[in-house]
Amino acid sequence: MTEIQTKPATPDSLDTLRCRLCGEVTDAGPYHVCEHCFGPLEVGYDLESLRGTLTRELIRSRPTNLWRYRELLPIGTDPVGGHAVGWTPLLPAPRLGEALGIEDLWIKADSSNHPTQSFKDRVVAIALQRAHEFGIKVVGCASTGNLANSVAAQAAAAGLEAWIFIPEDLEPEKVTATGVHGARLVRIRGVYDDVNRLCAEVSDRFGWGIVNVNLRPYYAEGSKTVGFEIVEQLDWSLPANVVAPMAGGSLITKLGKSFREFGEVGLIDDGPKPRLFGTQAAGCAPIINALHEGESRVRPVREPKTIARSLAIGNPADGPFALQAMLDSGGWGEAVSDDEIVEGIRLLASLEGVFTETAGGVVVAGAARLAREGRFASDGPTVLCITGNGLKTPDAARSTFELGEPIEPRLSEVERLAEGM
């Protein structure tokens, strides 16, 4: 068993963990669940003390990585890793916008995040920094793939032992991109929710730092940096609409938190916030189902069936909060078929040159539906969160083009092809 220090040094702004449901306060230790009502614990900050001291100039003066927002992140000491994580491109997407009928469309391209080409690099950087501060030597995760890649890579760089628990049917590319880092890869016979339940028990039994279990309050805060960066990259202004994929529902919830916190510390006007739109694959859409049926409780999906395996969480931990984030912001959500996902991947790649994995296809296809329904506010930019790289799920894109027969290395052969065009 790892001996865990429960009270690392903390900066003034990292205060406590507070239950999102009952408000019970506890110290900022390696726990994720309220002992009173089992609600999720969330990091609290003394935002008032940051007004006037956390300025745009101060942030601009710092390196272009996620630590530039460190006062709004739950870290207690100077970061020991993650120095190339975050600050991914925010790309104008006029050609895709024209195709989808969305004016002023932008792509937040976490598909080029470092080191493992997904937005999970952000949350893992925070979790491993916190693990370092707690004196934890063994880390791990339950993963649908992207998280596995990132924990394995960043643990390797930090010299930590990593135990990665995955469903046995994960895409081979994601398995390889995890195992190569030397992590202990444990395949589970079952779906992600089985893996997740097991990890909750593993965390209890072994005292390891499971990034999305007992380090989850800190891990989840890393998602806010997507929102922080969008605002800074739009020259300190808010978009009108943000579209995100939903698996466990944490990202969309934390996007809302990021915009609120920037307003509360005075970095932007504390006015109306962006509409938040969630997207899921139709074969695993527990949050969208609840949204469309007007339910406040999210009924789990027992056997997800979708090519978007990175979103195939049937029992989303933050489901109720994701629902609330969409509704409170005036947003909405949609679920899309596997065919629509593939078409979404094709559109983004062929119109904007960005190759995304299936989760990104869900976002593009979901945005297409939402645009047709007239759901977007038209008074500002719309940002699509593209959270993973297409090289992680290449099979999904294979049907998007035809590969002709090989030709002889003769100019006449190319002339023949050109004539046929």
């Binding site: 994720h32 079952g190 339940r197 097991l198 999305n212 466990g248 009924r299 931990a317």
Partner: protein
């Protein structure tokens, strides 16, 4: 029917630190009621006023979520394992 009940760390203050309890009964409800006799605070903590399991707790019988079976009326057999697991994890 003797059934093992696994208790998460967040609840062990209510079970004198024990991570496993022995329960008896033919359904999950009966087993939890049985362990609740010796651990009344535990039972009160895991259920809502109407007697249902709290929103952010999941209960599993041999790894299967009881919401996919008959909720608290899910039958249990000798040697089964009932796990109480906070739902806030993963993603």
């Amino acid at each position: 029917m003797s059934v093992k009940v696994r208790v998460p760390s967040a609840l062990r203050k209510l079970t004198q630190g024990r991570s496993e309890l022995e329960g008896k009964g033919g359904t999950v409800r009966e087993v939890l009621d049985h362990v609740g006799r010796d651990n009344p605070e535990l039972l009160a903590r895991i259920t809502e006023d109407g007697g249902e399991i709290r929103q952010f707790l999941n209960v599993f019988v041999n790894g299967t979520d009881i919401r996919y079976e008959k909720d608290l009326d899910t039958p249990v057999a000798e040697g089964d394992e009932v796990s109480i697991v906070p739902s806030i994890a993963g993603g």
